[in-house]
């Protein structure tokens, strides 16, 4: 073993790493920060390393060419031994990374760790989050399938809303006039060189500051942060009631990171890689583009914004959000760290988390979109057709043929863009139905030009039969009851 020591000494004399590395791993941390709550930062770092390694492994095969990328991924999935597993690791690694980075951020916010003197650590962290999302979006483009193609269209359309320089921005984003080869090339450069380069640099600074400033102590109610006393207090806490980071706190980081890596591998092995979905041929328009899960909330928000608010929202809200995150440690750099004394912070976090979850959930089934094939694939349920007159049945045919079903459901089947029509007759009278069909209103297009008078009559006669058996259809309170004009309707 003496030769080993000699080799070590030979290197140490030249590298002189023993001192700084020893300082870094043995620096004392407050005893109560060796907690399972403090493992997310290191897990995010581990996942970043996984993404770098699997990314390089994919890059030695991937062809960033619009004409070939899709076939290349098919080859990776099906022909290259375990190519599918590497793609799966990279895909699930990215999902886990976005999730872990968000959890890490929520934990740091909840524990008040962004306060003095860790303001800059938080700000760099905000940019790390943005770059993680940038990696997620550019990574989605690497798949170069239908979702990637139309996702780029959405990106370009968002860019085009910037006043004055919108047009040049679109061309810069796409690398040319349309989404094509040049677009993939520049997104490849962004995904493998530009963003990872900046990301790794920022991670180095982030970790450096964590080592220099120490890990945030466990927040205690009634122990507020003051700029004048904090550093001395923290020093006392970490040196008098502290323990060396290695192995005191490190073993938990190690186990959690291992568990996360194992979870990524299990997901990759069980669920496999995602996509590529349809071939990126713009002429195939029978597609329903959707972003990956981390952008579903945005996809949902963009559906719900009123048209007049959309451009102002897109142009200001992201910038204001980033500004607010950057300003946070300056506005609340001192004071209580404990969540027991920060009700606004807790409520804010809960609201954001619930909104994120709700919008993401809505994004998974897009109730705002017409169901493109409902009119031809979902028949009118039989129970709505019992004992109908020939005219009313003709109306049911019109109802299907005119694609009403794409937006309106019957018996929970069909689009959800408009209201379900199972009991529409209890809400609208016959006259109101005619008006609504012909003139539209709310979110409904006017069908006046696309329905002949006889089709309109048949359709409305069918619609007035849509009410529960025991419930009377709506009547006009002002005029004579329309029921007198209708055929016996409550006969289902």
């Amino acid at each position: 073993m003496r030769w080993l020591k000699q080799v070590y000494n030979w290197f140490e004399l030249r590298l002189q790493l023993e001192g700084p590395v020893g300082d870094a791993v043995l620096h004392p941390v407050p005893r109560n920060t060796a907690s399972w709550w403090y493992v997310f930062g290191s897990a995010a770092f581990t996942l970043l390393m996984l993404q770098v390694v699997t990314g390089i492994l994919l890059a030695i095969v991937y062809v960033p060419s619009a004409a070939n990328a899709w076939n290349n991924l098919q080859m990776l999935n099906h022909d290259l031994p375990l190519g599918w597993f590497l793609r799966g690791m990279h895909f699930w690694g990215s999902n886990f990374m976005v999730a872990v980075v968000l959890i890490h951020m929520a934990q740091v916010f909840l524990f008040g760790a962004y306060k003095f003197p860790r303001e800059l650590t938080w700000i760099i962290g905000v940019f790390l989050l943005l770059m993680t999302l940038g990696m997620a979006f550019t990574g989605q483009v690497m798949r170069f399938d239908q979702d990637a193609y139309w996702g780029l269209g959405i990106g370009a359309s968002i860019m085009s809303r910037v006043p004055l320089i919108g047009g040049p921005l679109v061309h810069l984003l796409l690398g040319g006039p349309i989404i094509a080869g040049a677009t993939l090339s520049r997104f490849f450069a962004l995904h493998v060189f530009v963003i990872p380069g900046i990301l790794l640099l920022c991670v180095a600074v982030h970790v450096w500051m964590v080592l220099k400033l120490g890990i945030n102590e466990w927040p205690m109610p009634g122990r507020p942060v003051r700029r004048s006393t904090y550093i001395a207090e923290y020093h006392k806490l970490s040196h008098q009631d502290g323990l060396p980071f290695f192995p005191g706190a490190f073993w938990k980081d190690l186990i959690f990171s291992g568990a996360v890596l194992a979870a990524v591998a299990v997901c990759a092995a069980v669920f496999g890689p995602y996509g590529p979905t349809g071939v990126p041929d713009p002429a195939i328009i029978q597609t329903v583009p959707k972003p990956d899960f981390y952008f579903l909330w945005l996809y949902a928000v963009l559906a719900y914004l009123p048209p007049s608010l959309e451009t102002p929202f897109i142009l200001t809200v992201p910038l204001l959000t980033i500004a607010a995150l950057v300003a946070l440690p300056f506005l609340a750099g001192e004071g209580e760290k404990s969540w027991h004394r920060r009700p606004v912070a807790v409520l804010l976090l809960a609201t954001i988390a619930v909104s994120f979850a709700v919008f993401t959930h809505l994004g998974t089934y897009t109730p705002w979109s017409p169901l493109m094939d409902a009119w031809s694939s979902d028949t009118v349920p039989e129970k709505f057709l019992h004992q109908l007159s020939p005219l009313e049945r003709q109306g049911a045919v019109v109802f299907q043929a005119k694609q009403c079903r794409n937006c309106h459901s019957l018996d929970h089947v069909g689009g959800e863009r408009g209201p379900a029509l199972d009991d529409v007759a209890t809400r609208l009278t016959e006259d109101q139905l005619i008006r609504q069909v012909l003139q539209g209103g709310g979110n409904m297009p006017a069908y006046g030009k696309n329905l002949s008078p006889s089709e309109t009559t048949a359709l409305v006669k069918f619609l007035v039969t849509l009410h529960p058996p025991g419930q009377k259809p709506a009547t006009n309170a002002a005029g004579p009851p329309t029921a007198a004009l209708s055929p016996p309707a409550a006969n289902r």
């Binding site: 006039p177 094509a180 080869g181 040049a182 029978q286 979109s369 017409p370 005119k402």
Partner: protein, 198 residues
């Protein structure tokens, strides 16, 4: 090693002549690097801005084929190859569009991209509507906005009929600031008459 550094700092602090010469040379070095930096950066910026061209520079007349393949009163999908294309574009050089032959040589050629966020709209002849699968934008047969989040009607290409051939002026992805051609207002005023008689 550290002793040497300390000694040098010691000298620079004490001797005003050495200080001024060293600092002058350092400033000269910075100046040279700044000049070279600018000289290198300008071409890089120009290179990066390569795809940005003046308005309309990407557009040219593209054929959609003989007019006979578009029956009057119907709206059909047509596909053309973008005039600005490279061999490595593959399928993505293709651009689809909706051609509506109003009557005779009067056409409307709509971009496939929804005016909201660019998703491909689909034509439903039965109900005479274009519907977008992404956020539920709906347009009437003449391209005007019917409902949903779009703030305007479908983008329209400028067209002309050359002999028996339908041609459109195309070349870039239509978005709110890189429109195919905003003729919708004109069409409305002229009650459906095409802006260019062909």
């Amino acid at each position: 090693m550290t002793d040497v550094v300390k000694e040098e700092q010691h000298i620079t602090k004490d001797d005003p002549r050495v200080v001024s010469r060293r600092w002058l040379l350092l400033k000269l070095g910075v100046l040279i690097n700044a000049a070279v930096g600018v000289a290198v950066a300008v071409p890089v910026v120009r290179y990066l801005l390569g795809p940005v061209k003046r308005k309309g520079a990407y557009n040219s007349w593209v054929s959609l084929g003989p007019v006979d393949q578009f029956p009057a009163g119907e709206t059909r999908l047509a596909t053309f190859e973008n005039p600005d294309k490279e061999p490595w574009d593959g399928d993505t050089a293709k651009v689809p569009c909706w051609v509506r032959r109003v009557s005779g040589n009067t056409f409307q050629v709509f971009a496939i991209n929804c005016a909201h966020l660019g998703c491909p709209v689909r034509w439903f002849p039965q109900s005479g509507l274009f519907m977008c699968p992404c956020h539920g934008g709906v347009y009437y047969a003449d391209g005007s906005r019917a409902s949903g989040p779009p703030e305007r009607g479908l983008f329209e290409y400028k067209y002309r009929v050359d002999g028996n051939e339908l041609q459109i002026s195309a070349g870039q992805l239509p978005t709110l600031s890189t429109e195919a051609k905003n003729v919708f207002r004109v069409l409305n005023n002229e009650k459906g008459r095409g802006p260019c008689a062909g």
